[in-house]
């Protein structure tokens, strides 16, 4: 249960789902209007600005998504390790007892 909570929290903390959905959205919604009428230079300028904003947004989001996935993997592995130790604990106890008694006696 705790393992599941950590995994869920990790993906929520790094907002992986939301970031994937809005991967190519402009950074901080910063986008300019093309305005009325057609002016090629202005159009190109705006397009370039908006594109930079989108690429910048996508890059930062990708960094966070990767971080989220890496940490997620870490949480998964740590959880798996704890689970294995937990399952093996009786065996560890028995082995420890046998070893100790063997030496002491």
């Amino acid at each position: 249960m705790g393992w599941k909570n950590f995994l869920r929290f990790n993906f929520n903390y790094f907002s992986v789902g939301q970031l994937l959905k809005s991967l190519f959205s402009p950074w901080k919604g910063d986008i300019s209007s093309y305005g009325r009428g057609f002016d090629a230079a202005r159009y190109f300028n705006t397009f370039l600005g908006n594109m930079i904003s989108r690429v910048l947004g996508a890059l930062i989001r990708l960094v966070l998504i990767v971080l989220g996935l890496v940490f997620g993997l870490g949480v998964f592995l740590a959880g798996a390790l704890v689970l294995i130790v937990w399952i093996c604990l009786p065996a560890i106890v028995v082995a420890g007892l046998f070893y100790a008694i063997g030496v002491v006696v």
């Binding site: 929290f9 903390y13 970031l19 901080k28 919604g29 966070l64 030496v103």
Partner: protein, 843 residues
């Protein structure tokens, strides 16, 4: 009913407990030894510089201690998690649907099962005793933590109950097994209602409160109700659950308080807006486990509106103190945890401080520019829901200094999809300012916020108890909470629940800390605070009320002559109402006084106000002949422009006698208004607010049928016989409707006054005059002849004793006043008034 503990999984835990109870201390000992050995090895290796191989033997001991610590730890964990809490094969709900099919002992938790097993073993020794008493006895004797806390919080004497039970167990009763089955099933139902998976010791206690005669009589003796036990049990389990969740740091909600990053990467900056707002989620993250009590429907409604495609702005309308803020808190909490509607989840709920914005601007134009900028930021951010409190202050056409009318600017933004707002206002504010601007009003969806119930308020107060106890280092008794509910409901009607109860709890704790040395908050402390706040002598009132009610006839007759039947009927009726013999939710008492003019109807009302409410000043008098048109309803209940004559006064002074003179002259629709007041004890005013009449005595007077009463009295008719004829007369002539008359607690007939009674009244009036003169040092001798002369001059069958006051004024008081001013009547003199020409003889 199948109830075999030995065939349940929990029985294994009871059986093995004797072994497993050593697991914890042994685990601790093993860990301590392990640590000491490790330290010893480290000390030897580093400080004494010994060879590592020389520690082989010691290392084995260390490994042994470590292994044992793990072993005992696992054993404890196995016992607590597995043996003590075996999972149920079938849920309790299913068992309640088919009682005979299940072994009910399997639904008990560890403590409850242990107590039941002990009681069943003992039951064989006490043949013939009531099995319920034996079970309850062992429940009280064992007193697991949950039961002990119920007794402690309720300040109940468990020793007394134990002694009572011991006495009962000694008697032969031959109880049926069905009685015990009833308790287990009842406990099962209570567990299910409280959201528990298994039947606990607390549930058994609540079930005993319902079904055990000994426990019931103990509760009555302790001035406690069965429901109080249930409340306390639920309170304890809820607090326990909350505590467990808070300490369980790996719980998802707990982890969520760490917040998140990147959710606002696609949302625009709100730099200006941030300067004039605070984020609700900041508050939420500190306490995500706070349970929002009540307002479930309102919360759902708000979420539905915010989720809509169009017109998704909310207008929360409710009386201050009803918990409008807690609705916002609930929305913010759900958005924060991502469990609300998809378009609300993870949005920022910003409380916009418009007054700070106005204060920061140097001119109105600058304020408007700032406002426009803030709203534009909301549009650009796309993840903001704005909350504006006291919205009515900012949409008024005649803005006061320091205020601004935002309606114009806001109207442009409201239809936009990414602009969302929750505006909070009062009923008064809504009707006066918002509703009038219909095009603006149409941009909102209105949500009415009702007051939460007393039970919900109690649950809310229970949530705040740990906070107040920790703050003031004092303990809060359950009875004090009940007293807070009772007194705030009865004497603080102008404020709404839950605010009035929470404020009173806060104030009572401050009072307890500052002015007493007591360690526990009790009902008397609460009463003291309420008395000081409301100026109603609560302590004496509650104590003297019984005495007043018992002697009401005598007390009324100190001011009222004759009318024995009427006085006795009023007194009996009030006693019935206050002793709660008949269940009613209306005012304290309601009476219709019928009879000719000048026979003491108003005087009775005045006397009742003075006796019951402490002063004649506590009587509100309405001449109903002034309310003959249908438009007069507005004058009584108020509108957005004017205060209601009736509703405002009752809100200001809820503890009073309401006298409705000449009731039959009011417009029939006005009388219909009073139907609900007499029935339910409340009325909705012109602004939609509930006005409470439960602490009033309502007396309506009418002259209808006066002539008939006079004639009947002349013929020597009896009151009871007259009543029926009067009713026929009143109903046939459509003076009053039967459904209206029947709603009064009593219809009281006042007969015309006869000469001997008038003589007594004259005596009473003249003796009041004599008392006034005595204060000036003048003795006024009242003669029988004078009284007779006054009766002779003032008596008329139409006006009863009404003329008497005028005659005494004109004939006696005028002469006395002249003599006093001329200096003829001085201190130490005595005076007699001649009955012939009202001349004065001064001695």
């Amino acid at each position: 009913m199948n109830f075999e503990i030995k065939k349940t999984s929990i029985y294994r835990a009871i059986k093995w407990q004797r072994f497993f109870r050593f697991a914890r201390p042994l685990k601790i000992i093993a860990w301590i030894l392990f640590l000491l050995l490790v330290l010893w090895i480290l000390f030897g290796y580093f400080v004494l510089d010994r060879d590592f191989n020389s520690f082989r033997h010691l290392g084995a001991w260390t490994a042994l201690c470590f292994s044992l610590a793990l072993l005992f730890g696992e054993a404890k964990s196995f016992f607590v998690k597995k043996l003590k809490n075996p999972s149920l094969k079938y849920p309790l709900k299913q068992a309640l649907g088919n009682i005979e099919e299940f072994n009910w002992a399997g639904f008990l938790d560890f403590q409850a099962a242990k107590i039941c097993l002990k009681a069943m073993n003992q039951a064989n020794k006490h043949q013939g005793a009531d099995i319920k008493d034996i079970f309850l006895f062992y429940l009280i004797k064992t007193r697991p933590l949950d039961v002990a806390l119920v007794f402690q919080r309720g300040e109940l004497n468990w020793r007394l109950l134990k002694a009572n039970l011991k006495k009962e167990i000694g008697q032969v009763k031959n109880s049926a097994e069905a009685d015990f089955a009833k308790i287990i099933i009842e406990a099962g139902k209570l567990a299910l209602l409280g959201g528990r998976v298994k039947i606990t010791a607390g549930d058994l206690l609540s079930a005993f409160a319902e079904n055990s005669a000994v426990f019931e009589s103990f509760l009555t003796q302790s001035d406690f109700r069965k429901d109080d036990i249930k409340n306390l049990v639920n309170w304890h389990y809820k607090a326990q659950e909350r505590h467990e969740r808070i300490t369980c740091w790996w719980d998802y909600k707990n982890l969520m308080t760490r917040g998140s990053i990147g959710k606002d990467f696609a949302s625009g900056y709100t730099i200006t807006l941030d300067g004039f707002s605070f984020e609700w989620q900041d508050k939420i993250s500190k306490n995500v486990f706070r349970e929002i009590v009540g307002h479930i429907e309102e919360i759902k409604q708000v979420e539905r509106i915010l989720e809509k495609e169009q017109n998704k702005n909310v207008l929360l309308v409710g009386q201050p103190g009803t918990g409008r803020g807690s609705i916002i808190e609930a929305i913010a909490q759900r958005a924060f945890l991502g469990i609300s509607a998809p378009s609300i989840n993870y949005k920022r709920i910003l409380q916009f401080d418009l007054s700070a914005l106005v204060a920061s601007a140097e001119s109105k134009e600058q304020a408007e520019a700032l406002l426009e900028k803030c709203f534009s930021e909301v549009i650009k951010a796309k993840n903001v829901i704005l909350v504006i409190n006291d919205f009515h202050n900012y949409v008024s056409e005649n803005s006061q200094p320091g205020m601004i009318n935002v309606a114009g600017i806001m109207a442009r933004f409201l239809p936009l999809a990414s602009f969302q707002i929750i505006a909070i206002t009062t009923f008064e504010g809504f009707h006066t300012y918002v509703e009038k601007n219909s095009s603006f009003n149409n941009l909102f969806e209105k949500v009415d916020v009702a007051e939460i119930s007393e039970n919900e308020t109690l649950v809310l107060m229970e949530q705040f108890v740990p906070f107040f106890e920790a703050k003031h280092k004092k303990y809060i008794g359950y009875r004090a909470l009940k007293e807070i509910l009772k007194t705030s409901s009865r004497y603080m009607a102008q404020t709404a629940f839950p605010e009035k109860a929470l404020r009173l709890l806060d104030e009572s704790m401050v009072y307890l800390k500052m002015y007493t040395k007591d360690k526990v908050l009790r009902p008397n402390h609460v009463r003291k605070v309420v008395s000081e706040k409301t100026k109603i002598p609560l302590e004496t009132l509650e104590g003297t009320e019984k005495k007043v009610l018992i002697n009401l006839e005598n007390l009324l007759h100190e001011r009222l002559i004759g009318q024995d039947e009427a006085v006795s009927e009023v007194a009996n009726s009030l006693r019935r109402a206050r002793a709660e013999v008949n269940l009613k939710s209306g005012p304290i008492g309601s009476f219709l006084f019928l009879g000719p003019t000048g026979v003491g109807k108003t005087e009775t009302a005045k006397a009742l106000a003075a006796i019951y409410f402490g002063s004649e000043q506590n009587m509100l008098r309405f001449d109903m002949s002034e309310f003959q048109a249908i438009e007069d309803i507005k004058r009584l209940i108020g509108t957005s422009q004017e205060n209601g004559l009736l509703t405002t006064k009752i809100k200001e002074r809820p503890f009073c006698l309401l006298l409705l003179d000449e009731l039959e002259k009011a417009h029939p629709n006005i009388l219909t208004l009073f139907l609900q007041v007499l029935d339910e004890g409340w009325l909705t005013d012109g602004l939609g607010r509930k006005v409470d009449f439960k602490n009033t005595i309502i007396i309506a007077t009418s002259n209808a049928g006066a002539e008939f009463i006079r004639e009947s009295v002349k013929r020597g008719g009896k009151i009871n016989e007259m009543k029926e004829h009067i009713f026929n007369y009143v109903f046939q002539n459509h003076i009053l409707k039967p459904e209206f008359v029947n709603r009064f607690d009593a219809v009281v007939l006042f007969k015309s006054l006869e000469k001997p009674e008038l003589l007594q009244i004259a005596g009473l009036m003249l003796s009041r005059l004599a008392k006034n003169l005595l204060d000036k040092g003048v003795k006024f001798e009242v003669t029988k002849e004078l009284k007779e002369k006054i009766v002779e001059l003032s008596y008329s069958p139409e006006f009863g004793a009404r003329e008497m006051k005028r005659v005494i004024q004109n004939k006696v008081e005028n002469s006395l006043a002249k003599a006093l001013l001329l200096g003829q009547l001085k201190r130490g003199k005595s005076v007699v008034v001649s009955p012939v020409d009202f001349s004065l003889t001064i001695r």
